[in-house]
Symmetry: C2
Subunit: 254 residues, 2 copies
């Protein structure tokens, strides 16, 4: 672990255990630098990452303050890999998975674009149903290039594709584009998510990229509307109205 990450974690603990209570100023950066026997830029880096998480806020000439978010922090991790994430959170046994479809096909135009593939490069077409305590939680429809993820078996599908990619194939991820929107339930949704025709569905569409740069997954996860939601903290780091994209956006499909 890096120094700045260690310090990040220590400060985070001190925030949660109220060593640094909500609303108060934490010690100055040079005091922390002396305490942890590091240089000030290292402290700064640790503080910055806690600002990005929404736990701290700095003001020049004043200090760095602990923010108090009374937002109920029931936020479950939602990494690219729902299965491993939920297993981690809820423990083994409560999460189950049903494979609805597992086949190979050639990508259509949309997939060719999203995964940057040629039409002759086969992809897996996977549909899985995730359950928590035997109640349906999400339908995940996943496409992955066979080229990048060889030898995918049903065994892997029941566990974690992401673990297989990281640990067996030793590939690294760089990040994911996501688009979150509401939709009417499809027939598949109504059947597997056990919802009626007028129950809205929350869909998280994403493209996951490898560090190498290649897209490794296109997927759509659909959730019953009263079952889950997507939470995030958006630190207003930059001038808001740049001429360029930022992380967070709403698009209007006129």
């Amino acid at each position: 672990m890096n120094k700045h990450e260690e310090i990040t974690n220590i400060i985070k603990k001190r925030i949660y255990d109220k060593t640094y209570p909500s609303g108060t100023l934490i010690p100055q950066q040079d005091v922390l630098a002396r305490e942890f026997k590091v240089s000030r830029p290292t402290i700064k880096k640790a503080v910055d990452s806690l600002i990005a998480l929404g736990l701290l806020s700095s003001q020049r000439g004043i200090g760095t303050r602990v923010l108090s978010h009374d937002i109920s922090y029931k936020t479950n991790e939602y990494p690219a890999d729902i299965h491993k994430g939920l297993t981690y959170l809820l423990g083994e046994g409560r999460i189950t998975c049903i494979i609805i479809n597992f086949s190979l096909e050639f990508p259509d135009d949309h997939l060719q674009k999203a995964l940057q593939l040629s039409s002759s490069s086969p992809v897996y077409n996977i549909i899985r149903l995730r359950k928590i305590d035997n109640k349906p939680y999400a339908i995940e429809h996943t496409f992955m290039p066979v080229e990048l993820v060889p030898n995918l078996s049903e065994d892997v599908l029941y566990h974690s594709i992401y673990q297989y990619i990281q640990e067996t194939l030793e590939l690294e991820f760089s990040g994911a584009y996501r688009n979150i929107h509401a939709d009417k339930p499809s027939e598949l949704d109504q059947e597997y998510l056990e919802c009626s025709f007028d129950d809205p569905v929350l869909e998280v569409e994403q493209v996951v990229y490898l560090k190498k740069g290649a897209p490794v997954e296109y997927s759509r996860s659909r959730h019953k509307y009263n079952n889950s939601s997507y939470s995030l903290y958006d630190p207003f780091l930059r001038k808001q109205y740049n001429n360029e994209q930022r992380g967070v956006a709403i698009e209007s499909n006129e």
Copy 2:
């Protein structure tokens, strides 16, 4: 403008104008350091912010590669302030605003918690309908503490509350917690968004914080399901399964 921000913008331009084509390696950090006559850590900072935007990906021993996201980049800015953001994007004249409600009240329990107020501290209760080209776009229901945002007038509501807060009151924002979910349309939605009883609605619920630490807004923006969506890039910066929260999360409301 900081040096690292200037360099960030220059590199960004070079990515968009294909000086650094998709998929290729950009020059090494020490080459860039010499070109821009800055130290390497400054280059690193610029590169890091482009990694956070999803434009670059670095690998030790190899270099820094331009990612190519064929995701259609129709992403409109969605800052906390929809009005100013959309005005910036679409130009003056296409955005209009109707005030459906503007009143004062004392906060209920939920609002007291979200805005960290006592029950005797009044809040504005504002409902506005946003239109693009005279077609309904979103219903925004906003609560703000009178204490923090004094002298709010209808005039300000038609323009930008955020501009008023930043420029007149000279307050700074630190960021916002958001929760995005799907919902059934309310009667208000059906009336003003012109949707039918089985059209889903996408709601973005947020609490916006000042740098000082105080929550300054609690709001819910509701959109017709086929009208807008929420997009973001999630860089997988940290180990995914830490014992602590990250920005992105799904919560299951069991």
